[in-house]
């Protein structure tokens, strides 16, 4: 090949200024290894270009040098003999990943604490609510039971009162106790006796009222039959007493607690005669 023609084609300038194509570059570099004159011509142009460009230099802002030196100072490898790149990458990753992961861990830790506190609060909340509800439930049950029993008694009373077979005996006060009064509901078919206290004075704790049925014997003499004891506090509630088939009259006396075998007639409080007495 004609080297002078090749040099005169402008390939050197094109190569040095970065305008040669890939294949032109490869060819030029190959020829440079064979022809020192070509290298010399290239160097000549490079030096001219460098000289001219340096003569027309524009001073950059001083801050750029500071930034550049700071940037390469950060990347400075303390062991220049070794390859500088791998430790740099490791350093960057090491300095980055713990920050990221510890930040992540911190976030997760904070989130878990908040979650735990939240759950504990919810648990406490629902637990105390549960307790309160169950207490309320118990109270309502009790109330329902007592109301039920009162209602049952009222229903029972009504039944007895309305029953056509029931005889009502109005018991009035005696001279000893003129204000004492009570009603006896006596079912003659079932022989059941119910007592409703209307007005009976409160007694000392060692005494009780006792109901008697007075039944005539063959000689016409009234024999008392015990129908049970009761307290004045049972006022207005119907009391089931002992059954009796016969009774010419009912009498209430004051006896010692638990009742007596025979009535203390001096203390008879109230007396009511039945139709059987006629």
């Amino acid at each position: 090949m004609n080297l002078q023609e090749y040099i005169a084609s402008g390939i050197i300038e094109s190569y040095v200024m970065g305008l040669a194509s890939e294949s032109e570059r490869a060819e030029f570099e190959q020829l440079c290894t064979q022809y020192p004159e070509l290298v010399a011509a290239r160097r000549d142009f490079e030096e001219r270009l460098e000289e001219y460009t340096s003569e027309h230099a524009v001073a950059p802002p001083p801050a750029v040098k500071v930034k550049v030196l700071a940037a390469i100072g950060d990347q400075q490898d303390p062991h220049p003999a070794r390859s500088s790149n791998p430790p740099k990458i490791i350093t960057m990753e090491n300095s980055k990943s713990p920050v990221r992961s510890s930040a992540g861990l911190r976030f997760i830790a904070a989130a878990s604490v908040i979650l735990l506190v939240g759950m504990a609060w919810l648990y406490y909340q629902s637990n105390s609510q549960n307790k309160e509800l169950s207490n309320t439930n118990d109270r309502l049950k009790e109330k329902l039971n007592s109301t039920d029993s009162i209602l049952n008694q009222i229903v029972e009373e009504q039944k007895i009162v309305k029953d056509p077979n029931t005889t009502v005996v109005n018991m009035v006060g005696t001279q000893v106790a003129p204000h004492s009064s009570a009603n006896i509901y006596w079912d003659s078919t079932s022989t059941s006796v119910f007592l409703v206290v209307k007005n009976m004075p409160k007694l000392p704790t060692d005494q009780q009222y006792q109901l008697w049925a007075l039944i005539a014997d063959k000689e016409g003499k009234a024999q008392p039959k015990d129908l049970g004891v009761f307290d004045a506090t049972d006022e207005k509630v119907i009391l089931k007493m002992k059954n009796t088939q016969k009774a010419q009259a009912f009498a209430i006396t004051i006896e010692k607690k638990g009742g007596s075998h025979s009535p203390t007639l001096q203390k008879m409080q109230s007396l009511g005669k039945t139709l059987q007495s006629q």
Partner: protein
């Protein structure tokens, strides 16, 4: 005040490859101005951006010094091409293109001609000053190829001239340029 150190190119390259930051300081002090000049001839309208590119270029020189091959050219040639490529990459980046659109819209209507003459004055530094001496049809091709980074094929298409003609004209223009650099 330290004793000023000077290096031959050979010494400088060796010191740089050994990560000697004193040598790097010398490199910066001696070549930053020349490289900044070529950057400013490509990024003509934004000094801040040009200095950012200069910073990037020197950091890249430091990082890539291992890949510099002395048999393929002088250190300065290698650095000059790094600076030119970085400037053209910036010129073609989307963010730069967008900033250009935003700047140009209001101005163009009234100042089209005035702007051009101002730009010409700003451009007349370094190699571009030499370009003025070239014939216009040569000048525009060097301008497009060297300072705008278009390939010969792109220029052929843009100017509607055969690729061979583009190549020949650019080569001739560069040969003339060489004479003017004397």
């Amino acid at each position: 005040m330290g004793i000023p150190i000077t290096y031959t190119e050979q010494e400088l390259v060796l010191a740089l490859k050994e990560r000697n930051d004193q040598a790097f300081g010398f490199l910066y002090d001696n070549y930053a101005g020349a490289l900044y000049s070529i950057i400013k001839q490509i990024i003509t309208d934004n000094a801040e951006l040009a200095s950012d590119v200069l910073q990037e270029v020197f950091i890249n020189i430091w990082r890539k010094i291992e890949t510099y091959d002395q048999t393929k050219g002088r250190l300065f040639t290698w650095m000059l091409n790094i600076a030119r490529n970085a400037s053209i990459d910036t010129l073609r980046s989307k963010s730069y293109q967008n900033s250009q659109k935003n700047q140009e819209l209001p101005d163009n209507v009234y100042k089209g001609v005035a702007n051009q003459s101002v730009q010409l004055n700003v451009d007349n530094i370094g190699l571009k000053k030499v370009l003025e001496k070239l014939r216009p049809e040569h000048r525009v091709l060097v301008e497009l190829a060297y300072f705008k980074g278009f390939t010969h094929e792109e220029i052929a298409e843009m100017m509607a001239i055969p690729l061979g003609t583009v190549k020949t004209r650019i080569r001739n223009a560069l040969l003339q340029l060489r004479e003017y650099l004397q």
